[in-house]
Symmetry: C2
Subunit: 236 residues, 2 copies
């Protein structure tokens, strides 16, 4: 199994899949990070794997696809792991050869949320081409107890715009409020604080990806509108 | 131990203290709710207990205090459980006789959050008069593993305005957004959703009490200001 882009999520993937696969990885700008047992090599070798996970930011996805397209063998399954799915699905379908299977995926977790274990963590899989996406889904369910949600890229983006978008919006607001109290807190405030901490530690690319969700503006607009309605309720 | 006001929190208190005390309770408007083992009786008998917990909304606290003042014996410990502490502390000190010990308290939990057990739940105790407030604090630590926070009513209200106030503000906004998705969710969104559900099930009096916090307006103002700053960042 091959990983293209060995950043935070690429390394996380490698760590969990090493017990089940021989893992090859490549990174356009290697920063010295490695994971014991992972073979760091060039894109050509990585692309000869049966499954190739592209773990790069959305902004780099098209270039990476164009670069690896000639290197991929027939029957290979190629996945992306971006936080939105409509645009990445377009890119995979447009840039990669018809002889590879394709799935746009969104693991709804990261280094923070996986600490409590993988069981029950959600992963969205949008099968785009071929049968292997369903096989990988079955494997992830069986081995890691992931809750696999199979939807279209459009269904994903419409829902994620609210769930991820609003979480990031609330986190951005609270992170601007310096030193919130942590002594006299309710359980519900502690939960919100926990959510904010998860967002605070997201990889840099994540928030841009979330804001590039085609439905993000609509979700923000509705949140701000309800916000203004609540604010008016407080006006004397 | 006596409970005046046998609503949601009065009943919760009774349920947990029955193993350790003989519990008497009274309610100005009895709604038939009882807890097995609790002796429902009149205010006079309840006020002869060693510890009297006033579990009524802030709006009723002054009247209740005036009504029970003549019924309390020297050395009795009287507690309130309102969600703010400055105003209740004023009322207890003004309306109750000097021969009773006083503590303004705020259990930072309710029927929702206590389901996972009492250990680690926070309870604010503001000792107002006498030594017994510290004895009750030691008992609650030892028997229920509560995290007791001993502060002044003013310290409580300043911090709670942010922790409780912002949680309620965010919950009010999200509760106005009908049917948020629950299928494609991140762990952080699930945490915020959990917090909102806790607030949704708060007793009716709670949100009024929280909004009566003298610092509530300041906390809201800061939140709305950061909100507007974030909103401006999104404007083209």
């Amino acid at each position: 199994m091959g990983i293209i882009g060995f950043g935070a999520f690429g390394q996380l993937t490698a760590r969990y899949l090493l017990p089940y696969f021989r893992v090859l990885a490549t990174d356009p700008s290697p920063n010295g990070d490695t994971v014991g047992g992972v073979i760091m090599t060039d894109p050509a070798k990585v692309c000869r794997c049966d499954v190739v996970v592209i773990a790069v930011p959305l902004s780099a996805l098209a270039d990476v696809c164009r670069a690896i397209a000639p290197l991929l063998r027939p029957g290979t399954l190629v996945l992306d792991v971006c936080s939105t799915k409509m645009r990445p699905a377009e890119i995979l379908l447009a840039e990669l050869p018809p002889h590879v299977d394709l799935a746009a995926t969104h693991p709804m977790f990261g280094p923070q949320s996986i600490r409590a274990g993988t069981r029950g963590l959600k992963m969205v899989i949008c099968p785009l081409r071929g049968r292997s996406p369903r096989r990988i889904a079955a494997f992830l369910r069986k081995r890691f107890g992931l809750a696999i949600v199979m939807v279209s890229p459009e269904e994903h983006d419409r829902e994620a715009a609210f769930t991820q978008g609003l979480t990031h919006l609330i986190a951005r607001i609270l992170l601007r409020m310096e030193h919130l109290p942590d002594r006299i807190t309710t359980r519900s405030f502690d939960l919100i604080r926990q959510a904010v901490e998860m967002v605070r530690h997201d990889a840099p690319g994540v928030s841009q990806a979330i804001e590039s969700n085609p439905y993000a503006e609509q979700a923000r607009g509705l949140f701000f509108a309800e916000m203004d309605a609540v604010r008016r309720e407080f006006r004397p």
